[in-house]
């Protein structure tokens, strides 16, 4: 198979964007083409999106995007794989090039979720759950986040303070990321110890509090993939895709032998490591899918950075902060950068490229990174894609 790399990246601000969804995706796409130093020559476009039909009353958005930025007659498809749509679309782009069907692929993930009310957005995401055994109850993804957090805390002794420490780290990183949804600082005094905690940081899905959950965001992110054997025509040396792994797990979380076992995360990471020919010790930094902060904790263990239950000590020692042993969510993560679901997986890859190029902003830049790992988590862990990028 041909080696594949990322030659261009683009991103919109995450947050509330009062533009048409396709315009939002067009913006990040054009930024990625500009970054790659090309104006066209795209053979294939993959669009990652989950809610255009349900929320924005728009379908066929890959075709719409191609036409909006005059990329016809490029091939085009939309990839819907829940919150893992972004990394799935990157995987499809990789496969198209590796198989020889395309030389250059544009992958754009986009979502416009704030066009609807908060409870409708929550309900829309809850359609990921089982239509008979989960959804009719009003069960939401944050509800599973709460139940998972309680089970983890009771087994491993994680506390609300540990989660608050991760939230503070996420906000610190997001503050320096010009694309982040959340631009405010957070402090332990304000969200954990302070006298107004119940007002500032109320319980949302017990024991998860407001600062333990990601916001509902609009936004888009794009990458230009290319065959490494055509890399010479781009402005910058492409960042190589070293490994991609994916795995699935039971639709109903309660049917897993161990409720805390995120098997699909572990298997996806193991498959990506095997393809890249490295292990977790070689990873310099990671973007983990922290829609709820407990997921950063649990995923960091499943991908092999820490033993089961060991993330707690790493948080206390600051190992996951910028400058720590293994910085996690240098972008601010879903927690603070934001989570436009279809865009998230592409945005994670965007961050890995930016760090590997040494282009991340001062104060959140990882020192001399070699490999970066992204974990894009669909449903409540029933479909997970892990991607490893390498600087050469």
């Amino acid at each position: 198979m041909r080696a594949v790399g990322i030659a261009g990246i683009g991103h919109t601000k995450f947050g509330r964007l009062d533009y048409d969804l396709v315009d939002i995706m067009a913006w990040s796409s054009l930024e990625a083409l500009k970054d790659a130093g090309i104006e066209g020559g795209i053979d294939q476009v993959f669009v990652a999106n989950m809610g255009a039909g349900a929320i924005n009353n728009q379908t066929g958005i890959a075709s719409a995007l191609v036409s909006r930025i005059f990329l016809e007659p490029a091939m085009a498809e939309t990839i819907e794989n829940g919150p893992a749509s972004g990394a799935s679309a990157v995987k499809c782009g990789y496969l198209a090039i590796a198989a020889g069907m395309a030389d250059t692929v544009l992958v754009t993930g986009g979502e416009r979720m704030r066009e609807t009310t908060g409870w409708k957005a929550t309900d829309f995401v809850a359609t990921l759950t089982h239509p008979d055994a989960e959804y009719p109850y009003g069960l939401t993804l944050p509800a599973y986040g709460g139940m998972f957090t309680r089970a983890y805390m009771e087994r491993h002794g994680l506390t609300e303070k540990h989660l608050a420490m991760i939230a503070v780290k996420a906000h610190q990183n997001a503050e320096k990321n010009p694309f982040a949804h959340i631009e405010e600082t957070a402090s332990i005094d304000g969200i954990y110890d302070g006298p107004h905690r119940e007002v500032v940081n109320p319980v949302m899905a017990d024991p998860l509090r407001l600062y333990d959950l990601c916001p509902v965001s609009d936004g888009a992110a794009s990458v230009v993939l290319t065959a490494m054997d055509t890399a010479g025509r781009f402005k910058k040396r492409p960042i190589r895709i070293a490994g991609i792994g994916q795995a699935t797990d039971t639709h109903c979380v309660f049917n897993r032998d161990d409720l805390l076992d995120l098997k699909a995360v572990r298997l996806a990471a193991e498959r990506a490591y095997a393809m890249a020919g490295i292990g977790p010790k070689e990873i310099s930094f990671a973007e983990l899918h922290d829609a709820f902060l407990i997921l950063e904790v649990a995923e960091s263990e499943e991908v092999g950075f820490f033993p089961k239950g060991g993330a707690k000590k790493a948080i206390e020692r600051g190992e996951t902060e910028i400058g720590g042993r293994i910085p996690i969510n240098t972008s601010g993560g879903l927690k603070a950068k934001g989570h436009p679901v279809g865009a998230t997986g592409v945005s994670q890859i965007h961050e890995i490229v930016k760090q590997l190029r040494g282009e991340a902003e001062e104060g959140r830049r990882v020192k001399n990174p070699r490999y970066g790992l992204a974990v894009n988590f669909g449903g409540f862990g029933n479909n997970v894609v892990a991607t490893i990028l390498a600087k050469e």
Partner: protein, 132 residues
């Protein structure tokens, strides 16, 4: 005039499904038995359906939460959920009707109205403290 509940509620029970070939029990219903690969056909046109086994009774609470941001169709300020395991090993999610849930507690699951959507009442498991 019949109420919405009377009009649209067909069956208020919650069921597990038993494979007629090997007896393996499932919730929710699969389309094939994981153990013996026997196919399930809800229409009974080509294959037989799985046997419906009412789900309820004593169960153990494995984990729980109370949420304050609720989706459509729930007319209350918060809602508590739990994952429970029945004595036959089947697990399910249910709405907690107990004030002070505790992981590991023994509860009793009964079918009841858990959500009212437009023209659709949703029945599911409600989880109570066991009867004295």
């Amino acid at each position: 005039m019949p109420t919405t509940t009377e009009l649209y509620a067909v069956d208020r029970n919650v069921y597990a499904y038993r494979c007629p070939e090997c007896g393996a029990l499932y919730y929710p219903a699969p389309m094939i038995c994981r153990k013996c690969r026997n196919r399930r056909d809800p229409s009974t046109t080509v294959y037989s359906d799985f046997e419906k086994v009412p789900l309820g009774g004593p169960c153990k609470l494995l984990t729980w939460t109370r949420i304050y941001a609720l989706p459509e169709g729930i007319d209350r300020p918060s809602l508590a959920f739990g994952v429970v395991e029945f004595t036959n090993g089947i697990r399910a999610v249910g709405v907690l009707m107990t004030e002070k849930p505790k992981t590991g507690a023994l509860l009793e699951a009964r079918p009841g109205l858990v959500r009212e959507l437009v023209r659709r009442d949703c029945y599911g498991l409600q989880l109570f403290d066991p009867s004295p």
